[in-house]
Amino acid sequence: MNKEEDKSGQVTMFIIVGVIIIALAVLIYAFYPQIKSTLGFESKNPSEFIQSCLEDEIKNTVGELSLRGGSLEPDFYYLYNNEKVEYLCYTNEDYKTCVMQQPMLKEHIEEEIENQISGKATECFNSMKESYANRGYAVNLRTGKMKVELLPKKVVANFDYSMTLTKGSAENYEKFRVVLNNNLYELVSIATSILNWEAHYGDAETTTYMNYYHDLKVEKLKQSDGTKIYILSDRDSKDKFQFATRSVAWPAGFGG
């Protein structure tokens, strides 16, 4: 009788232990990334760490300013589909060509991205420093300048930072680079050309650009006050850049 009781007790124990093991396995599976990060055994090298930490921030920033004519908070805009679309060339008068409002568009966008991601970049470098320190490294991080560049098919954030990791031997990492694949450079170049046409002739022909650039879609939407919304998009990547102009506007009647 006692032996039978012992046996059933053992079975119960086995079942309990089995349930605990399964529960632990489920928990580890569910929270693996956090555990991995906390325990500090991530395999990422410093460049990968910064890339994965900042990429989404750059992507969101680029996405937002692309819909707003190149500025995150435009001073002067047309509200189109609830989006503040910046006027890049504008005249308040009828029948006249527009006055350029943003002549250095590429540089302006680079500056906007720089300003927006600088906080997050500092956060990322600090987080990386902490992560390596937790893993027993002596970390020496020297900060420097940050520069964002729009390049063909990509947006690049260059960090003139350097980092030395020492744990026995020393490893030195210099100049970090975060790359986002995006066609903003190409779209901004087209926008620049359209703006010159708007300033010179008061209008731009969309099909000319689509003939030259096969994956490009150019839409021109004239609004009732004479504003034009240009939407440039890449048919493959779906990257988009939109901006507003008002040039050689025709009023209702004589505009009196």
Binding site: D75, V99, P103, L151, T207, H214, A252
Partner: protein, 575 residues
């Protein structure tokens, strides 16, 4: 009608000479808040619209130093932006120069040849692009048009770069330079003639060798050429190439071969040398056609897209991965038709046409550039709310481009070709209605180079001369729209040009009868369709032709504010 012209001229003068002094505002306000967030730079506007924190002077911006317009030169990118105020340019770290880009040396354009690409840009821009792509430039100032520049871009001649390391003899399809770069520049005294150099002879083949690896370049040949004896063989696989339209065969080493032609999949000659686009198969628009061989050239002249990969973007096809329903004879890529379908109609890639929107006129231009149709119905065309739209078919997608609001632009359409080769083009162009009423003779009125007007019956006394100003009047051909629902617009005064009163005088005759003795033509009823020729009808047509005037249904078919005017019964359409 003379009075009408005088009123019209007075109206224009009134509009063009507003009472308020115009200022050059360095920056405008937003929402008339002079101390709030600033608006646009350098605008001529009333003083109250100028921002308080920025400069303003009671003159035109062109006369000021800070808002003078010129060209803003970007020395990094080499771009020139015109119509830029000095202040805005310098604030953005650009270099401001007076005048248009044509007059500025740094903004002069030339042909920038980089690799296989060409761009018509400034020299600085060319250098900037070359730096970005890491390529050398060839900048030609003798080419002075964009088309000529793009046509002059010629790809470097490619060929088979054979690499023999003693164990394996493989090949890469590359340019001569790329082939040289595989091993670096040949060392002095190094052999320049390999085994295959001797075999083929001539200047097309060169080789650089060392004891370990022998590299030969065979210009104009493919890696799959059997005579090269490489491990690259012909396959039935195809691929699309970025920046090119055609479907290409690939060999077993992954190198590009000639344009896909199903009839030549096993033809050793087609896998030997490079065939130009013109020498390759021709793509038919009709997939049902079977291949036909040209007896003279030997080339297949017409093939279906399942069998021929010679796609052409401008003709409406480009290389894409085959989807379900596409059945290329070989490979997984096909020339995709870039045309569109809209309301049961098929349109070719690049076609543009005027949308069939409500209440607009159909304006067709013939081959000599003249508008075919001249009769428009003011009851149903160019009515309140109607607008012209242009439709654009590119890359399987249709986009809608609205022409300017208030019918300040109309959509014109023309067609070239016949049958299945028909191709439509359309454009939104300015509706030149503004000075119609000021024209006092038919020749000036219907001069389509200067204006869009029509010469219609005025309803006044008919003294036999139909072209006299008393009988006819010049009105817009495509009635413009007005924002008549807003306060303070000129809609009322413009429509008022057509207001008229005709006092008819009767005399009582013997008995109880009355006889009309003066202005009796105002009682005259028109005959035929639209009661043409009647005073009342003529006046109504005149009124409606001026714009959104008179009693009209809107573009949705809804009534206007008032009932239809009947001059003879005295019912008025005024409020």
């Amino acid at each position: 009608m003379f009075i009408l012209v005088i009123i019209f001229i007075g109206l224009i003068n009134f509009i063009s000479a507003p009472g308020e002094t115009s200022y050059c505002c360095e920056r405008l306000t937003k929402n008339d808040d002079a101390r709030g967030a600033p608006g646009a730079w350098c605008q001529n506007a009333p003083e109250k619209q100028c921002h308080a924190n920025y400069r303003k002077v009671p003159t035109s911006c062109e006369a000021t130093s800070y808002c003078k317009l010129g060209t803003c030169y970007n020395s990094n990118e080499g771009t020139c932006m015109e119509n830029t105020p000095q202040k805005v340019c310098e604030l953005n770290k650009g270099i401001w120069k007076e005048g248009a880009p044509d007059s500025i040396p740094q903004c002069q354009l030339g042909c920038c040849l980089i690799g296989e690409q060409a761009a018509f840009v400034t020299l600085t821009r060319c250098r900037s692009l070359a730096g970005v792509y890491g390529l050398e430039i060839n900048y030609r100032t003798d080419i002075q048009s964009e088309v000529e520049c793009i046509m002059s871009a010629s790809p470097d001649v490619k060929g088979a770069c054979v690499i023999d390391n003693g164990i394996e003899r493989t090949c890469k399809f590359a340019t001569k330079k790329e082939c040289q770069d595989i091993r670096g520049s040949p060392a002095p005294g190094e052999s320049t003639g390999g085994f295959f150099g001797g075999l083929f002879g001539g200047g097309d083949q060169e080789s650089q060798g060392s004891l370990e690896t022998n590299i030969e370049f065979h210009e104009g040949f493919l890696c799959s050429d059997e005579n090269l004896s490489t491990n690259c063989a012909r396959t039935k696989k195809t691929t699309c190439v970025e920046g090119r339209d055609e479907v290409y065969f690939v060999d077993s080493c992954g190198n590009l071969a000639n344009i896909y032609d199903a009839s030549k999949v096993n033809d050793p000659n087609y896998w030997k040398e490079i065939y130009s686009k013109a020498e390759s198969c021709s793509l038919s628009d009709q997939p049902q056609l079977s291949p036909t061989d040209d007896a003279i050239t030997g080339y297949t002249i017409v093939q279906s897209r399942e069998k021929c990969g010679n796609c052409d973007y401008y003709s409406g096809s480009t290389c894409k991965s085959a989807k379900s329903g596409d059945n290329p004879t070989y490979g997984n890529n096909i020339c995709k038709d870039l045309g569109c379908e809209y309301e049961g109609h098929k349109y070719r890639h690049g076609e543009t046409w005027c949308a069939d929107s409500r209440g607009k006129s159909e304006i067709i231009v013939n081959e000599s550039g003249e508008i075919q149709n001249s009769e428009f119905n003011p009851e149903q065309e160019n009515i309140p709310g109607s607008r012209y739209f242009r439709m654009v078919c590119y890359n399987n997608e249709i986009s809608v481009e609205p022409c300017a609001e208030f019918r300040n632009e109309v959509c014109i359409e023309s067609e070239v070709g016949k049958g299945t080769d028909k191709f439509k083009t359309a454009a939104c162009r300015v509706n030149m209605w503004q000075d119609c009423v000021a024209q006092d003779n038919k020749d000036d009125c219907v001069n389509t180079d200067k204006r869009d007007c029509q010469w219609i019956d005025s309803g006044e006394k008919d003294n036999g001369d139909t072209d006299r100003r008393e009988n006819k009047v010049c009105v817009p051909k495509y009635a413009p729209g007005f924002n008549f629902w807003e306060e303070g617009t000129d809609a009322e005064s413009l429509c008022g040009l057509a207001s008229t009163t005709c006092q008819v005088k009767y005399e009582k005759k013997l008995g109880d009868s009355w006889e009309c003795v003066d202005n009796c033509e105002c009682l005259k009823k028109g005959t035929g369709q639209g009661a043409k020729g009647g005073w009342e009808t003529d006046k109504i047509n005149l009124c409606k032709s001026l714009g959104d005037c008179g009693w009209k249904d809107n573009y949705l078919g809804n009534d206007g504010f008032n009932k239809q005017f009947d001059g003879l019964t005295g019912k008025s359409w005024t409020k």
